[in-house]
C-alpha cells in the first residue's frame, strides 16, 4: 500500500506467526538483509520470494478430467497473476469433448499423449475420478510429463523421477477442524 519497506513484525502479524519464525523463513530467501527499524525493501523482497516459489519457472500445464473441479481450475483467476497457463483439458465425456471452457479447448483423452509430445508438456493436473487417476497419470508420464498435481484422493504409483503434489481436500479440512477444536 505505497510503502517501500516492510518489517518482519508486520509480516508476522499478517500471517499470525512469531516474528522470529518469519525472519528465519525469509533468511534463506531474501537476498538483501532487512534494514534496522525499516525492514525489508518490499519490491526486491517480493521478487526474491516469487523466484524462490518458482514463479519464473515452467508455466504450461494440461488438465486431465474436465469435470466440476477441472472446470473450476480452468477458470481459476489466480493462475494468471503468476503467468501459469493451463493450455488444454482432456476428458472422455462426449458432452465436454470439442467444447471450450473459459477459452480452453477440451479434447478427447485419446489425443492426450500426442498433445503432450507436440507441446513438450511437463506438468499434468489430474482431476479425474479416483478410479481413473492411475491410468491417466501413467499415460501422461509415458508421453513425457514429469510433474503431477493430483487432486484424486488416492495414492499414485509413480516412477522415482516424477515430481508429485497431492492435493487432499479432506486432509485440509481435517487440519482446519483440528485447529478449531484446539481453540474452543
Amino acid at each position: 500500500a505505497g510503502r517501500e519497506y516492510c518489517s518482519a513484525t508486520i509480516l508476522a502479524e499478517m500471517v499470525r506467526e512469531n516474528p522470529a519464525v518469519v525472519k528465519k523463513d525469509l533468511q534463506s530467501v531474501i537476498s538483501q538483509p532487512g534494514k534496522p527499524k525499516l525492514g525489508y525493501e518490499i519490491k526486491s523482497a517480493i521478487r526474491d520470494i516469487e523466484e524462490n516459489l518458482g514463479y519464473y519457472t515452467i508455466k504450461n500445464a494440461i488438465l486431465i478430467g474436465a469435470g466440476k473441479l477441472g472446470q473450476a481450475l480452468l477458470g481459476y483467476v489466480g493462475f494468471d497473476k503468476y503467468g501459469f497457463n493451463i493450455l488444454a483439458g482432456f476428458d472422455t465425456n462426449p458432452e465436454l469433448v470439442g467444447k471450450t471452457i473459459t477459452d480452453k479447448n477440451i479434447y478427447d483423452i485419446s489425443k492426450m499423449q500426442e498433445y503432450i509430445k507436440e507441446n513438450n508438456i511437463l506438468i499434468a493436473i489430474v482431476t479425474v475420478p479416483t478410479k481413473y487417476a492411475q491410468e491417466v497419470t501413467t499415460k501422461a508420464i509415458e508421453a513425457g510429463v514429469r510433474a503431477i498435481w493430483n487432486f484424486a484422493p488416492t495414492h499414485l504409483e509413480l516412477p522415482e523421477n516424477i515430481v508429485v503434489r497431492n492435493e487432499d481436500m479432506a486432509a485440509s479440512l481435517a487440519i482446519l477442524s483440528k485447529e478449531l477444536k484446539n481453540k474452543i
Copy 2:
C-alpha cells in the same frame, strides 16, 4: 492390503521420505511404539493418525459460493470417507438458489446468518469471487462461524480468535513447478 503391521521404512518409501523423518513425525502421534522388525500395528496407528489430524472433531460446514469450485467441493467424494459434511451452500445467483447440487440445498445468501445460528455452524468454506470474499466472511463470523477455509486468492482480515486456512491454488502449482525445475 491384509497386513497387520507396517514399518517406517515401507511408509517412507510410499511418501518418498527418509525413514528417520517418518519415525520422528510419527513419534508424537502414534500411542503404541513400533515393534522391532514388524513396525507399527496398522489399525491402531491409523486411528491415532486420524485422531491427530482431527478426523473425529467438528464435522459440519457450510459453503459460501456455489460456482464451479463450490460445486466441485459439494460433490467431492473424499470428504465422506472422514465423515465431513457440507450441510448447505449459499449463493446470490438466481439460477442456483433453490436448487440442489449433489443432494445439498443452495440457499440465497441472505439466509446464511440465520442458518449458521440455527445449526451452530462453526466452519465456513469460502469459494466466492475474490471481491466478495471479505464481505461474506465477515457476515459468517458475525453469525458465529469460528473457522474459515478460504479459496479466494486474497488476504482476509479476520479477528484474532478465528482459525483460517488459505488454499492458494497458484502457490501450490508454483511449488510443483519449482520442484520440477530443480529436478530437470
